[in-house]
Amino acid sequence: MATGSNDMPDHRKRNTFTSYVAPMAGDVRATADTNEWCLPSDLRDVHLATPRMLSGEQIVASAPAYMYSPIAPMEGSGNSNSSNSSSSTSNSINTSIGNGNGNGNNSSSSSGGANGQRYSRGGHKEATFGLLSVTNFKLAFVPLHGGQSAQSAPLASDLYQGNNFLGRNEVTLNNIDQIYTIAEQGRAASALQAARMAGTSSRRKKLEPAKQHNLNGRIVALHIICKNFRLLKFAFQQQDSKLSGASDYGKLIASALARFAYPMRHDLSFAYSYQEPYYSTLVGVSMYASKNDWARELIRCGATEWQVVSASSVPLLQNRLHASKYTLPPHFVIPKCCEVDRFLQLSLAFCDSRAAFWVYSYGSSAASLVRLAELQPSSQQDTKLENIMLELVRKCDERKQLKLIQLTDQLPSTQDVQRAYHKLRRLCTPETPEKFMLQDDKYLALLEKTNWLLYVSLCLRQASEAAATLRASVTCVLQESNGRDLCCVISSLTQLLLDPHFRTIDGFQSLVQKEWVALEHPFQRRLGHVYVSNSEQAADSEQSPIFLLYLDCVWQLLQQFPDEFEFSQTYLTTLWDACFMPIFDTFQFDSQAQRARAVSEGRLVLRPVWDWGEQFSEKDKMFFTNPLYQRQRGDLAASQNYRRSLAVGGQHKLLSTTGAGGPLATSSPSRYTINPQLFATQSTVPQDRYLQPSHRILDLSVWDQCYYRWLPVLDIRGGGQPQVDLFYRLMLSNIAKAQRCIDLQSFEDLPDAFYEAMGEQRPSQQSLRDQDQRQQEEPVEYVDGVERRRKTDPSAGGGASTANGLNVVNGGPMQLSTLSSFFPFGSPIAGDAPHELYDILSGSTELLLDTSSILDKSSIV
């Protein structure tokens, strides 16, 4: 109370980092010694547990706290698998903690806290003790482990996704959406108990960053809800009231978060503090940051009736006075039959000056996909201008036909999407097991009430309609109020349905650059990177996860066409997480102009998110590829053609100079446009690989990997998609290995499956050594001090191979078994991702990335 409130008004004015001081390690120790309430003996070591920091990162506040594990499998079922060793250890844990719980006394907490961990009745680890820190970049929890065992857990063999900038128990401040404070309960004996009760209590209060005087009363726990569906729960130890308020750790953290997780201006974001230089290693992604990128796309699509305009070379836009009337992207494509000045004049009538922008053309007649905003409210009575605009677009179509799809009538508003997202997230972030079961009882009805799948269904429907229009060689115009939200969704989906190039990783990233970044989806407002303070309603109406809606639609396509996409669902999930990494500029800005200003004024270092090597190791990047993807021959030829035309212009150049002589003479291209007719007349997009998805709600499902991955209670250990993916990867790696053996004429390094198929023993020394080891380990086994009776294998499984018997546990060449079904997300357990996996991964990835792979070369019988 005392120190916090004294400083407060000062802080609110300046909002800087320096006025916040992290408690010294010494302070903590002092309270620990004097307090009647027993802190864990490790507490004096809390200062050792500092989070790893980036350059430019500063600690704002830190406090000892308990972090709660998310809702775990019922009755501790998840923490052991069938293997001998682990079941025996889990037994010992169960017995040792059974007594320390449930007394609800002051002293009870110390027995559990002795090794810094607490357990619920079922033997599941309920909370971990450690140091919670708020920095200007992230909220970090560093557990204080009882021994070195936990230290050694995240080793190289851990194949779960790691991030170079974030640890497993860390979230960026950008990711934090809502914070709930749980105030002190009258008769709660311990912090843990209070936090447990908090699920039902009315003392759970939403933290309003604008009004910090809300923070009265002691805060015993915090619930933090992240934009990526993660729920973090922390509990703080209560202090004796005689002691100063400085040790009200809950309040310390809460007020630090209130200030730093909700920046009022974007330049307070960590993006500006992180000044590390960036050296691009990016190849293959079109950034659409230059005129040439657009021109290449025009050529690839064979769109001859359109021209690229760069704002920087239009004289009118050089005039400050005039330019301020427009909110145009730096480059855009307009009908060639329209003078640029005329176009600019017309565009003033439209919201955000978004008159018809070309984005894509399909088919031999190059029917175009066009994005258009609605007329400004002031000029809505007069639809003449809109008609003129549409007439200009129509002129570009070979058959002079056009279909206008008004998205505003057909699709939810941004507010609707936000509401649906909130409801969906509530279903995915239950605070207590009781809440989880309550939701579960009415789950389908609740899911329907969120409307999320309805909106996904509507988007897929509109995209299918647009794609069908283009396939019928009719130009399609998508119209939406400002042309920057659902237009992006429908336009991108349409192109995904039509064009296999966009289903490759490079192509998909180029598509996001084109539709979302270059044509300026307002990421900053929609993702809530800046907190709008003046009124709560304004903030609500601006924020909306339109991009997540798009990713969900893509995920549904991936479910319906599992072999059509080069990327995996892991890639899509990672992309949603990447939206909250301020270090990468891709999803940080509303417009290109804003980005340019940030670079010039705020000395921001631009760092595209597509350079995944910045965030992830090689093995993490491997999970971005889909093992089922088929790079069919038709597509292969086309993409190679495409690459060639990118590099040298290809043969199209020769063809077109003769063919396009006529129009060249008539329309004189002005010096600030590139005339694509100089290069090509024919689309190089293959036309036999379009997708026709189902958009019925009953054919859609919930994106479990993205939405449920923080709920271990829904983790199917050893099941789900990852297991199937691994199976495919194993097959691919076997094929690659066998092929290599044939190529090299050496048969030393054959895959295990080969020996199994041939019914042979693997002759290598490695396995012999393994067997020796196993024999040494086997003879005696103790469980809780009782020798376990070991039965000799009673002829496991009549006639079946021994692998089907019950007794083979340690044996077998590899154990692909206990991976999380959210893998590479979800929570790893010891030894569940063995090193052999890495081998399989790299083997299969080799084959997947090799475009001229043997899979395509040799026909499969």
Binding site: D563, A738, R789, A803, N807, L816, S817
Partner: protein, 624 residues
């Protein structure tokens, strides 16, 4: 032998969710060929089964198809099936075909009278056990409806009309010694799949704690139990007789499964006859302590009562009840909250309402939610997972019962055994599991399904076994590569659960089956399945032999279970979704096999050459 085996390859590549019964009729080429000739008797476009004979044939019947509207065509009724084919239409559309085994029919009703007006208002409506209704319209003038109705009644409900089920006629006609011998020698014979003693031996019984007894060889002690039991060694036969008296219908605790490694067991029984007064029985208490002591790993015994606790208490009024923790030492009792057969029947009826004939996409989720079917499935799964936890994680023995121990108990024991023991996840193992836990322990199939019986509103009918198959499907969806069989295998089992073509699911108990001599007078479903195994295999299964997790713990949450559209919604052509991925799997697997063979050849060649080299060098240098 029949259409299914001949078109096995076609089926294998098709979606697994297709109907296993009318596999031949789905191919349109067959249809167009025979469409014009439907007037002739023996040239109908389906393949007659052995022993199948025409009963009635009508050429001027309209099938009121809920999807394509009324179609005019010919109706054939045999002693096995009802078959309708529409007359060829002008626009090259494939004809509408309805092919329903009569065993599937639950109820036949006349609609409209002589005076009813309007098109297609006079005819017959057929309600099926497999989630569909069929409506045929007849002309009022020619009395065609009467004979059809009578033939349907007589052949669909033979037991109500003192006839015999088709399975007997089928087997009698198929009884050619050559085929029967072929089945036996090829190891297909379904009646030989389950050998109680061999199965017990696989589990390590008899051993120093458990013995096998044939005390019930003539079904004298318990008429709904099998002939062979495994019981604790400490219990003598006389003792067992006394214990049986304290259990409902004498169904005393008998071994279902044992973990050969830890010796934790699953035993099953019926409720104890405690009654309102809270009777105790020293023998029963001792017997349970024997079961506990047979497992050295734990000093506790867990009783899983499948019922909701309120129901268990209510059963005391009828003389039943549950074990009190005071009377039984070291026993812990849990209630698994699974509702009774009547609740399940009602729930499935609602599922049918939501799925057939049409669905409302915008209200789909709420409609499914309100059936509560998924919630019931969740309860069964959760119960099984709890049993698995006790047996595997805690190494505690578990006793499972409900009221009579033949419905919910069978679900729980069979499902938990499936989760615990990978053997039951193979085709053969699953057949054994059904034979053992469902058939030999007396799940009353005859009563629950009502084979050949016209009492369609009988309160004893209930989809208990279907619910078990659904639960298995849920597990197979969560662990895609843990099962040797595919969805089509499960659908085939459900289809022949009703069809009465095979003897497997006839009668209520093992005693009745022996009395009826089903083994010799009917064919087993497993013979049929094992003779064309390819179409029932899951291509993803091979990966599981790589030492993958042996115990499955499915997620029992409505978030993780789904409505089985491949089964419940399969009659709606709009709801069939093509399944991807399978084709690619087969491609990759065959590619891998080809390469392996190639490698092997090359390697052998290389080995031969180097062997030759070695021998030549040896010859060349005689010093060695």
């Amino acid at each position: 032998m029949d259409a299914t085996s001949s078109s096995a390859d076609k089926l294998a590549s098709k979606t697994a969710s297709s109907n296993s019964l009318d596999s031949s009729s789905k191919s349109s080429s067959l249809g167009s060929k025979h469409g014009a000739e439907n007037g002739q008797q023996r040239d109908t476009p389906f393949v007659y089964l052995d022993g199948e004979e025409d009963q009635d044939q009508k050429n001027d019947v309209t099938y009121v198809c809920p999807y394509r509207g009324p179609v005019f065509g010919a109706l054939t009724i045999t002693n096995y099936r009802l078959y309708f084919r529409s007359l060829p239409l002008r626009d090259q559309e494939p004809p509408v075909v309805v092919d329903v085994p009569l065993g599937v029919i639950a109820r036949v009703e006349k609609i409209g009278g002589a005076t009813s007006r309007g098109e297609n208002s006079y005819g017959i409506e057929i309600f099926c056990k497999d989630m569909r209704n069929l409506r045929f319209a007849h002309k009022q003038q020619n009395h065609s409806r009467r004979t059809v109705f009578e033939k349907l009644q007589a052949n669909a409900f033979p037991l109500s009309y003192s006839g015999k089920l088709f399975a007997f006629a089928h087997a009698a006609a198929a009884a050619q010694p050559s085929t029967a011998n072929a089945a036996v020698s090829a190891g297909w014979d379904g009646w030989a799949v389950y050998e109680p003693l061999a199965e017990l031996r696989r589990l390590g019984v008899p051993n120093d704690m458990w013995r096998v007894t044939k005390i019930n060889e003539f079904y004298g002690i318990c008429d709904s139990y099998p002939a062979v039991w495994a019981v604790p060694k400490a219990a003598s036969d006389d003792f067992l007789r006394r214990v049986a008296q304290f259990r409902s219908r004498c169904r005393l605790p008998v071994l279902s499964w044992m973990n050969p490694r830890t010796q934790a067991t699953i035993t099953r029984c019926s409720q104890p006859l405690v009654g309102v007064s809270g009777k105790r029985n020293a023998d029963d208490e001792t017997y349970l302590s024997y079961i506990m002591e047979a497992n050295a790993q734990s000093d506790k015994l867990t009783i899983m009562d499948a019922r909701p606790s309120a129901n268990a208490i209510a059963n005391k009024a009828k003389g039943g009840g549950y074990e009190s923790e005071d009377a039984y030492k070291n026993v812990e009792i849990n209630f698994l909250d699974i509702h009774n057969i009547h609740v399940m029947r009602e729930s499935l009826r609602k599922v049918k309402e939501a799925c057939y004939p049409t669905t409302d996409d915008s209200k789909w989720q709420t409609a499914i939610d309100s059936t509560l079917w998924l919630k019931h499935i969740r309860c069964v799964l959760a119960g099984a997972v709890r049993i698995v936890d006790k047996v595997e994680t805690m190494s505690t023995s578990v006793v499972v019962h409900c009221s009579d121990g033949w419905d919910r108990t069978a679900q729980l024991t069979a499902l938990s055994m499936l989760l615990l023991d990978p053997h039951y996840r193979t085709v053969r193992g699953f057949e054994v599991l059904i034979e053992k836990e469902w058939l030999s322990f007396g799940h009353k199939f005859q009563q629950r399904i009502g084979h050949g019986d016209n009492k369609h509103s009988d309160a004893d009918r209930s989809p208990v076994f279907l619910q078990f198959i659904d639960s298995v499907w849920q597990v197979s969806q969560q662990f895609t590569n843990a099962f040797e069989f595919n969805e089509h295998f499960l659908i085939t089992i459900v289809d022949h659960l009703y069809s009465c073509r095979f003897g497997t699911f006839l009668c209520n108990t093992e005693a009745e089956r022996v009395a009826e001599d089903l083994k010799h007078k009917t064919i087993s479903l497993w013979t049929h399945i094992n003779s064309s195994l390819d179409q029932y295999l899951n291509p993803l299964f091979p990966s599981f032999t790589h030492g993958a997790e042996l115990v499955l713990r499915p997620i029992a949450s409505v978030r993780a279970v789904r409505l089985w559209r491949g089964l419940y919604c399969r009659w709606n052509p709009g709801l069939c979704t093509p399944q991807h991925g399978c084709q690619r799997t087969r491609e990759l697997l065959s590619k891998q096999d080809l390469l392996f063979k190639h490698v092997n050849e090359l390697r052998l060649k290389l080995n031969n050459r180097s062997n030759n080299m070695q021998t030549t060098t040896r010859l060349a240098s005689p010093m060695h």
